[in-house]
């Protein structure tokens, strides 16, 4: 297909070897930069998100805050209080949580759902007492939501009625390890002795000190929420759809629904801003590349005026000439994308070795998605074609009678 156009486009590019090499080189650098920036950003963000969300559900459903309800009497205008003292929020269960859990679990976006109870408590061992958060969980579904099972470093995620799982920092503070006994106490229960069944590391020192996991029923008992659930923790398929799903759930229930974006607003804003900034940088790189291609082709049209005139005189149509130059733009774009993809991949591999996170581990994992390369290829092709439009039209509109006399 397009043998004539292809033959001429390739020959013209080959004839202007130096120009072609330079512009393909320039395009490659641009594409590699785009690939590198996108790859690193995706990697770093994915890593950050998985580190953060590894310990958090994507969506949490909690009972609504308790508010003051002024009493109304018939015939009186509504009472307006000058000041109203907000009510203290006690630990409560979600009303009828089993029904709500069943309904939510049936939604197609929801991949896992688990009820939990959590509240303040103390852990005591000998002379030491530490303030902690007691979390009552059902280990299997809970792991599907937060991947706690992957974070167990010693022992196992088994929770019999008097078992507990604690974090590495707390274990260190208390000087305990798997098999040792600790004493858990809450404001509502004098507490019991628990056997440490497992020790987890969530990659966050504060979390490793704070959360003590117990069996759901045990948690309900010691937090005085018999049969209750203080929250429903949900994992969804697409974490970036969490906000939309959350909004939909709010329509559906009176309970308080929060997505991970809301819980981690700082992180989420930082990520979005980072994405916007990268998008701007990428757009500018693409525009610079396009301008480069345009200028090289404009020069080429001027240099090839006479040849274009001959071709037109011996029977090439305006369309033929237009396609010859558009094709040159496309070829430069594709060649640049192929070279750029290779260089960009190399840069990424290098970056993942050299760039380190605070804890010394690699800052990001290289995520080589075929979509990224396909995208780069498509963008380069489209920009190559767009960049060639002006020179191609100029070439096609050359007056052959004048061009051959140049």
């Amino acid at each position: 297909m397009m043998k004539f156009e292809r033959t001429l486009a390739l020959r013209f590019l080959r004839e202007g070897r130096m120009q072609t090499a330079l512009i393909v080189g320039g395009t490659s650098i641009g594409v590699s930069l785009i690939i590198f920036i996108t790859g690193v950003l995706t990697g770093v963000q994915a890593d950050l998100i998985s580190r953060t969300l590894g310990t958090q559900p994507h969506i949490v459903v909690r009972p609504p805050d308790e508010v003051n309800h002024p009493q109304f009497q018939e015939g009186y205008s509504p009472v307006v209080f000058a000041t109203a003292q907000a009510r203290a929020q006690r630990l409560r269960s979600i009303d009828q949580w089993q029904y709500l859990a069943d309904e939510l679990a049936a939604l197609p976006e929801v991949v896992a759902l688990t009820p939990t109870v959590s509240g303040p408590g103390f852990v005591l061992r000998g002379e030491v007492d530490k303030s902690i958060t007691v979390v009552g969980i059902d280990p299997q579904p809970y792991s599907r939501v937060t991947k706690l099972d992957e974070k167990i470093v010693t022992g196992s995620l088994t929770l019999n009625p008097d078992d507990a799982i604690i974090g590495v920092e707390l274990a260190k503070d208390l000087g305990v390890s798997v098999g040792d006994k600790i004493h858990l106490q809450t404001a509502r229960s004098a507490g019991n002795a628990f056997k440490v069944r497992g020790v987890y590391d969530q990659g966050n020192r504060e979390a490793n000190r704070r959360f003590v996991y117990v069996n759901l029923r045990t948690g309900q008992a010691i937090l005085d929420l018999a049969g209750g659930a203080s929250s429903l923790d949900i994992a969804v398929k697409d974490i970036f759809a969490a906000a939309t799903i959350t909004a939909a759930l709010r329509q559906h229930t009176d309970q308080k629904v929060e997505s991970w974006e809301e819980t981690n607003r700082e992180l989420f804003t930082a990520l979005s801003n980072q994405t916007i900034m990268t998008r701007i940088v990428r757009s500018f790189v693409a525009i610079i590349v396009a301008i480069g291609i345009t200028s090289v082709l404009v020069v080429s049209v001027v240099q090839k005026q006479k040849e274009i005139g001959i071709l037109r005189a011996i029977g090439a149509s305006r369309g033929d000439i237009l396609r010859v130059f558009l094709l040159q733009g496309a070829i430069i774009g594709i060649a640049g994308a192929v070279c750029g993809s290779m260089v960009g991949t190399g840069l990424m591999a290098l970056g993942s070795r050299v760039l380190r996170a605070a804890d010394g581990s690699a800052l990001f994992q290289v995520h080589l998605s075929p979509g990224l390369y396909a995208g780069a290829m498509l963008v380069a092709l489209v920009f190559g074609l767009l960049a060639a439009t002006v020179p191609a039209r100029r070439a096609a509109s050359l007056d052959p009678a004048r061009a051959i006399r140049v």
């Binding site: 397009m2 043998k3 004539f4 033959t7 020959r11 013209f12 080959r14 004839e15 006479k306 040849e307 001959i310 071709l311 037109r312 005189a313 011996i314 029977g315 090439a316 149509s317 305006r318 033929d320 007056d399 052959p400 009678a401 051959i404």
Partner: protein
């Protein structure tokens, strides 16, 4: 019996910068007919309108008024597309400065009009191109870059190119203009040979009275009008 006409011009006028104060009419109603197989010289002093007339005949620029029948079709007011198609199917071109494509070899240059029409290199067309190169005595230079050829050789390649699609008529703009006498004679002889062997008509613009004398017909253009139209060549 008269051979059928290929080109019929009637009252062709050409004005440059029409409708402006600097408008200038360079052709003032030119009429003539060229029949199949004719070997015609178009002569005249510089500025007489030869190049303009050749451009109009070659459909490279339109006439301001008058009618132009090419191979039985009125083309004076034809669209850009129709004119391009007519150039490819009916006309061959030879330019003064050879005008080969420097990025291509001799045989590729000869094949170029074929590639435009067929949209691919066909074996038959390639064989035809090689035969033409052989006919112009350049079989050995077929795969040489056109820039590596001498002026005379380049012009012979251009002749081969003008004939590849077996046009009815070849328009030649001073084909021997910048060649030495011996080479010019060779080139002229070649054109003559193709005219005899293949029946292709030639319209040759030339300054060289010696060559013009050897054509079957001489059309002399002076100040945009035909001053003389003589049939019969000096043997």
């Amino acid at each position: 019996m008269m051979a059928p006409p290929i080109i019929t011009l009637e009252g062709i006028r050409k004005t440059y910068n029409e409708g402006t104060p600097i408008a200038q009419e360079v052709l003032h109603g030119v009429s003539f007919t060229i029949s199949e197989g004719e070997f015609t010289a178009l002569i005249g002093p510089s500025g007489s309108g030869k190049s303009t007339l050749l451009n109009i005949l070659g459909l490279l620029e339109p006439a301001s008024s008058g009618s132009y029948h090419l191979n039985g079709q009125e083309v004076a007011q034809a669209s850009e597309d129709q004119r391009t198609r007519a150039r490819l199917s009916t006309l061959g071109f030879i330019f003064q400065f050879h005008h080969l494509l420097p990025a291509f070899t001799a045989v590729e240059n000869v094949l170029m009009p074929g590639l435009m029409r067929d949209r691919e290199y066909t074996p038959a067309r390639r064989a035809e191109a090689l035969a033409l190169l052989e006919a112009v005595g350049l079989a050995h230079a077929a795969s040489k870059k056109s820039t590596a050829l001498s002026g005379g050789m380049q012009q012979r390649v251009a002749i081969a190119r003008s004939l590849i699609l077996t046009p009815k008529i070849v328009l030649a703009d001073e084909p021997t203009g910048n060649l030495d006498t011996q080479t010019a004679d060779d080139i002229f002889a070649l054109l003559r040979r193709f005219n005899k062997e293949r029946g292709t008509a030639f319209l040759i613009v030339t300054h060289d009275p010696r060559l013009a004398e050897r054509c079957d017909r001489k059309i002399r253009l002076v100040d945009g009008v035909i001053a003389e139209d003589l049939h019969g060549s000096v043997p």
